[in-house]
C-alpha cells in the first residue's frame, strides 16, 4: 500500500508540475490585465507541435533513442516552442485582448476563444488531426523506486518545472521587471502615473504566459503524445488549480497546480474513468466555500 501512495505522489507531482506552470501562466495575465486566455489549451497543443517541428527540422526522429544530440534537440524544441508561442502571445494580446480590456461585458472571454479556434484550425491545416508520439530525451525505461515506478520524462518535467518556478519567483520578487509587473497588478492607473508603460508590460505578460504554455506542451508531449486537442483538459485542470490557489496569487497558483496533480492521480488510482468528473466536482465544492481560493485574499467591490 505504501508503494501505491508513493506512486500517486510521484506521478501527481510530475503531472502537477505541468498544471502549476499553466496555472502560473493564467495568474500572471490575470493579475496584470484582469483577463486571461480562455484558449490556453490550444496554445499548449500548438506549442507541442512546434516542438515536434523543431525536432524534425533537426532531423531527430520522434522515436529516437536517448543520446546527447537528442537531449540538445529536445532543449531546442523547448526553446523553439517558447519563442514561437511567445510571439503568438503578442498576437493574441493585440488581436483578441487589448480591444476588450477595461470594458464591461468580458468580451475577451469569447474573443480569446475565437483566437484559439483559429490557432487550432491552422494547426489542423498544417499537421492534421492525428496525435504524434514524441520520445523522451532520456528514454522510456521506467525507474523503480521500491515498488513504485517513474519515467525519466516525469523526473525531467519535475526538475524543469521546479527550476522555472524558482527563476520565475525570483524574477517576480527581486527584479525591476517583476516589481513593475506587481505594480501594474496592484493598480494600473497608479503604475502608469509613475511612468510605467503598462501596455508594454501587458504585452510582455501575455507573451510570457503563452511561452510558458507552449513549453508545457513540449514537456507533456513524451508522456501524453502531442495532439492539437491535448490542451483543453490540461488548461481546465490548471485553471482549477489556479482557482484553488487563488488567481490573484502567483505562488498560490503553483501550489494549487501541484495539489490538483496529486488530487487527480489519487482519484485516477481509485477510479480512472471518473477522474475528470470527480476533479471538477471537487473544484466546484471548493469554490462554494472559498470563492477566492485557499490562498487568495478577499476582494470586495467598492460601492
Amino acid at each position: 500500500m505504501a508503494s501505491a501512495y508513493l506512486q500517486i505522489i510521484l506521478s501527481g507531482l510530475s503531472v502537477g508540475g505541468v498544471y502549476a506552470l499553466v496555472a502560473f501562466s493564467f495568474s500572471i495575465t490575470f493579475t496584470t490585465t484582469k483577463t486571461l486566455n480562455f484558449s490556453q489549451g490550444e496554445v499548449v497543443g500548438f506549442g507541442a507541435f512546434v516542438g515536434v517541428a523543431v525536432l524534425s527540422l533537426l532531423g531527430i526522429s520522434a522515436l529516437a533513442a536517448p543520446g546527447i544530440t537528442e537531449g540538445l534537440g529536445y532543449l531546442a524544441a523547448l526553446v523553439g516552442a517558447g519563442a514561437v508561442m511567445g510571439a503568438v502571445g503578442v498576437l493574441l494580446f493585440l488581436l483578441a485582448v487589448r480591444p476588450f480590456t477595461g470594458k464591461p461585458g468580458m468580451n475577451w472571454v469569447m474573443s480569446t476563444i475565437g483566437f484559439g479556434i483559429i490557432l487550432q484550425s491552422l494547426g489542423l491545416a498544417i499537421w492534421g488531426p492525428a496525435p504524434v508520439m514524441v520520445a523522451s530525451p532520456f528514454g522510456s525505461d521506467v525507474i523503480r523506486i521500491g515498488d513504485a515506478g517513474i519515467r525519466p520524462q516525469e523526473i525531467l518535467i519535475f526538475v524543469c518545472v521546479i527550476g522555472l518556478v524558482v527563476v520565475l519567483d525570483l524574477v517576480y520578487r527581486r527584479t525591476t521587471f517583476g516589481k513593475v509587473m506587481r505594480a501594474v497588478a496592484f493598480d494600473p492607473d497608479a503604475a502608469s502615473l509613475m511612468g510605467i508603460d503598462i501596455r508594454k508590460v501587458m504585452v510582455l505578460t501575455f507573451a510570457f504566459s503563452c511561452a510558458l504554455a507552449g513549453v508545457s506542451g513540449v514537456l507533456l508531449a513524451p508522456i501524453a503524445s502531442a495532439s492539437l486537442f491535448m490542451g483543453m483538459g490540461v488548461a481546465l485542470k490548471s485553471f482549477s488549480g489556479a482557482m484553488i490557489g487563488g488567481l490573484n496569487n502567483p505562488r498560490g497558483c503553483i501550489y494549487g497546480g501541484f495539489m490538483l496533480g496529486l488530487l487527480e492521480t489519487s482519484v485516477a488510482f481509485w477510479q480512472a474513468q471518473w477522474r475528470e468528473i470527480v476533479v471538477f466536482l471537487l473544484i466546484i465544492l471548493v469554490l462554494a466555500f472559498r470563492p477566492n481560493g485557499l490562498f487568495g485574499g478577499t476582494v470586495a467591490e467598492k460601492v
Binding site: 480562455f38 468580458m106 474573443s111 479556434i117
Partner: protein, 618 residues
C-alpha cells in the same frame, strides 16, 4: 403586434416553402435552422440579455438528446412524453450549472460552465454502459402521429411551429419586467439588487431558459435521427451556439433567427473542408466581437434607424404627483438603528452608532471624508452586514436581509458614484426602479396574459409620471449613459422614486452639480418630502443641508459626534473641531495628531476637503 404578425408571416412562408421542397438535403437544412434557432433563442436570453457567458451549452444539448434517447429506449416511454421530459431534464441541468453563480462570477463562472460542458462530453463518451459512447444509442423513438413517424417535411413543420412558439413566448418575457431584470444583471448587479431585482434567482432563471431550449433542440435532433452518439457533443457545439447569438445579434429579438439562417447556410457551404469551417467560426467570432458588437441584427437596425428616424418625445408636462406606497400610519421612529458596529481590521467605519429617523423628515448625514457615511447607508440597505447592532424599519428587522428584499420593503438608495444601467434607456432605468412594485409573475409574463399586460401598462404610466416629475420626460428614449452628468444624477433619483420608497437614502446627490442645479435639487427634495417620503441624505454642500434638512447627524471616524436641528449642530464645538481641527493643530496641516492614523478611506486620499466646503457653508 407588428412584431408578432411578422414572426407568424416568416414562419408561414417557411412552412409553405417546405411543402414544395422535395430535396431531402434542403429539408434537412431547414430542420437544422429550426434546431439551432431554438438553441440560440435561449442562449440570447442568457448571453444577450443577462450577460452571462456560458461555454458549456453542448452539455445541455446532450441532456436533452440523451434524455429523449434513454427515456424512449431504456424506459420505453411515449415519444411525445419523452420529448417533454427531456426539456425538464435539461432545465434541471441548467439549475446545476447556475448554482455556482451564487459564489463565483466573471471569468471563473465562465470556466465553470466550460468545465460542465467538458464533464458531460467525457461522461457520454466514457460511461458507455449507459450512454453508448461512440457507438451511440440506436432506435430512439421518433415523434409520430399515432403510429406513423413524422416524414422529413413534417419534422420541418414541427420545428418551425416549435421555433415560432418559443420566439413568441420569449418575446413576451423579454419586452417586459423580466427582460429588463435580465438586462440589469448584464449592466450592474449591485444596482440591480438595490432596485429590488433578486439577482441570484434571476440569473438561475436565465440559465434555465437557455437550458430548456437547448435541451428541446437536442431531443429534436435525437428523435429525428433516431440515433445519438458522443460525437454530437463537443466543445465546438458550445462555441457554435455562442457564435449563433453573437453573430446574429446579441440582445436583439431577431438575432437568433438571423444567426441560425446565415450560419447553417455557411456550414453547408464549407462542410467539405472541416478545418476551414472551424477557422471560419473562429474568425466570425472575432469579427462579431470587433466590428459588430450587436451582430447582423444590430447592423440592420442601425440602417433602419437612419432611414426612419424615431419620433421625438413630448416635452415635460406639468409635474404631477409621485406614486406613493400606502403606509400604515405608525407611531414612533420610521427607522431605528441601535449600536451599529462595523470594522475592517483597524479601520472602523461604525462604532456604536445609533440613529433614529422620523417619518416625513429630511435627515442629513454629514461628516468629513472617511467618517463612515457611505458604509452606514450600505449597512441600512444590506450591501454590508454590520458586525453587531440592530436595524428596525417599520418594526421589521432589516439586518441580514438580502439587498433586493430591503429595497422591496421600501428602503431605496442612490449611489455616490452613479450606478445607472448605462446601456438601457432612461425610461427602462425608471421602469427597473419599479421592478419590485410590479406583480406580474413569470408565467403570466411568459404567456403574455392580460394581467401581465395591465401591470406593464400601469408601470409605464407611473414611469412617465416620475419622468415628468423629475423633468426627464424629454430624454426618456435616450440611453442613460449618454446623458449629461447632472441629468444622470437626477435619473438615479427618478429610478429610486419609481420603487415607491418609504425611506429614500441619497448618497451625495449634489456631488458635481453647479449651484443652480443644487438649488433645483433642494426644491425637488422638499417636494418629495412633502409627499410623505422620508429622506436621509449624505451631503457635503452645507448650504443645501442647512436650508432643507430638519435634522442633522454628524459622524466622524465611525462615531456619531452630534445630532439635532441644523442651527444647533453647526455651533457644536465637536463638529467644528472635526471639520476644521482645533487651534493648536491647525499649523500642523489641520489634522489633530491623535487622528493622523489610520486614514479610513485611502481612495479619497484621506484629505479632509470637506472642511473647506463646510467653511464656505457656515
Amino acid at each position: 403586434m407588428r412584431h408578432v404578425l411578422l414572426a407568424i408571416a416568416i414562419a408561414a412562408a417557411a412552412a409553405l416553402a417546405t411543402a414544395f421542397i422535395e430535396n431531402e438535403f434542403y429539408l434537412r437544412l431547414l430542420f437544422m435552422v429550426c434546431v439551432y434557432f431554438l438553441c440560440a433563442a435561449g442562449m440570447n436570453v442568457l448571453l444577450g440579455f443577462a450577460g452571462q457567458k456560458s461555454l458549456g451549452q453542448a452539455g445541455l444539448f446532450a441532456a436533452g438528446a440523451y434524455g429523449a434517447a434513454l427515456l424512449t429506449t431504456r424506459y420505453d416511454l411515449d415519444p411525445w412524453l419523452a420529448f417533454g421530459l427531456s426539456a425538464v431534464i435539461a432545465g434541471l441541468c441548467g439549475v446545476l450549472i447556475a448554482l455556482p453563480s451564487l459564489r463565483v462570477k466573471g471569468p471563473s463562472l465562465a470556466m465553470v460552465t466550460l468545465a460542465f460542458g467538458l464533464v458531460v462530453e467525457k461522461l457520454v463518451s466514457q460511461a458507455s454502459d449507459t450512454f453508448g459512447g461512440a457507438m451511440g444509442i440506436y432506435a430512439i423513438k421518433p415523434l409520430a402521429f399515432g403510429e406513423t413517424p413524422f416524414t422529413m417535411a413534417q419534422w420541418v413543420w414541427f420545428g418551425i411551429a416549435l421555433a415560432l412558439v418559443t420566439h413568441l413566448v420569449l418575446r413576451n418575457l423579454l419586452v417586459g419586467r423580466f427582460g429588463r431584470a435580465f438586462a440589469s444583471l448584464r449592466e450592474d448587479e449591485i444596482a440591480a439588487a438595490s432596485v429590488g431585482v433578486a439577482v441570484y434567482r434571476t440569473k438561475v432563471l436565465a440559465f434555465v431558459i437557455a437550458a430548456v431550449t437547448c435541451g428541446l433542440a437536442g431531443a429534436l435532433v435525437a428523435q429525428q435521427n433516431q440515433y445519438i452518439n458522443s460525437d454530437f457533443i463537443s466543445f465546438n457545439l458550445s462555441i457554435f451556439i455562442l457564435l449563433l447569438v453573437l453573430f446574429g445579434g446579441s440582445g436583439s429579438l431577431a438575432g437568433p433567427l438571423i444567426g441560425a439562417v446565415l450560419l447553417v447556410g455557411l456550414n453547408a457551404l464549407l462542410a467539405r473542408w472541416s478545418w476551414i469551417e472551424h477557422f471560419a467560426h473562429g474568425a466570425l467570432l472575432l469579427l462579431a466581437l470587433y466590428a459588430m458588437p450587436r451582430g447582423v441584427a444590430g447592423l440592420l437596425l442601425d440602417l433602419a434607424r437612419r432611414l426612419m428616424p424615431a419620433a421625438p418625445e413630448a416635452a415635460d408636462a406639468a409635474a404631477p404627483l409621485l406614486p406613493v406606497r400606502a403606509q400604515a400610519p405608525g407611531a414612533g421612529a420610521l427607522l431605528e438603528a441601535r449600536d451599529i458596529c462595523k470594522a475592517y481590521g483597524g479601520v472602523v467605519p461604525a462604532r456604536d452608532v445609533s440613529v433614529s429617523l422620523t417619518r416625513g423628515h429630511i435627515h442629513a448625514l454629514i461628516g468629513p471624508n472617511g467618517a463612515g457615511k457611505t458604509t452606514f447607508i450600505n449597512m441600512l440597505t444590506g450591501i454590508v452586514v454590520p458586525d453587531s447592532g440592530t436595524i428596525r424599519f417599520c418594526g421589521d428587522d432589516l439586518k441580514g436581509q438580502a439587498v433586493h428584499a430591503v429595497a422591496a420593503s421600501g428602503v431605496v438608495r442612490t449611489f455616490q458614484n452613479l450606478r445607472l444601467f448605462k446601456q438601457l434607456s432612461v425610461r427602462d432605468n425608471v421602469l427597473l426602479g419599479a421592478h419590485a412594485r410590479m406583480e406580474n409573475g413569470f408565467l403570466a409574463s411568459l404567456l403574455g396574459l392580460p394581467s401581465a399586460r395591465r401591470a406593464e401598462a400601469q408601470a409605464m404610466a407611473r414611469a412617465d409620471g416620475i419622468l415628468a416629475f423629475t423633468g426627464l420626460a424629454r430624454v426618456a428614449q435616450e440611453t442613460a449613459g449618454s446623458l449629461a452628468y447632472g441629468l444622470q444624477r437626477r435619473l438615479e433619483l427618478a429610478r429610486a422614486l419609481a420603487a415607491e420608497p418609504v425611506l429614500l437614502l441619497l448618497d451625495e446627490p449634489a456631488a458635481g452639480l453647479n449651484p443652480h442645479e443644487t438649488a433645483e435639487l433642494g426644491a425637488l427634495l422638499v417636494r418629495i418630502r412633502d409627499q410623505g417620503i422620508t429622506i436621509l441624505l449624505i451631503e457635503h454642500h452645507m448650504d443645501l443641508v442647512m436650508t432643507i434638512c430638519d435634522h442633522v447627524i454628524v459622524l466622524d471616524y465611525g462615531e456619531k459626534i452630534a445630532e439635532g436641528p441644523p442651527a444647533q449642530v453647526k455651533h457644536d464645538p465637536r463638529v467644528i473641531e472635526a471639520y476644521l481641527g482645533t487651534e493648536d493643530t491647525q499649523e500642523d496641516a489641520g489634522v489633530p495628531p491623535d487622528e493622523v492614523e489610520p486614514a479610513p478611506s485611502s481612495s479619497h486620499g484621506g484629505a479632509r476637503y470637506g472642511a473647506l466646503r463646510a467653511a464656505e457653508g457656515f
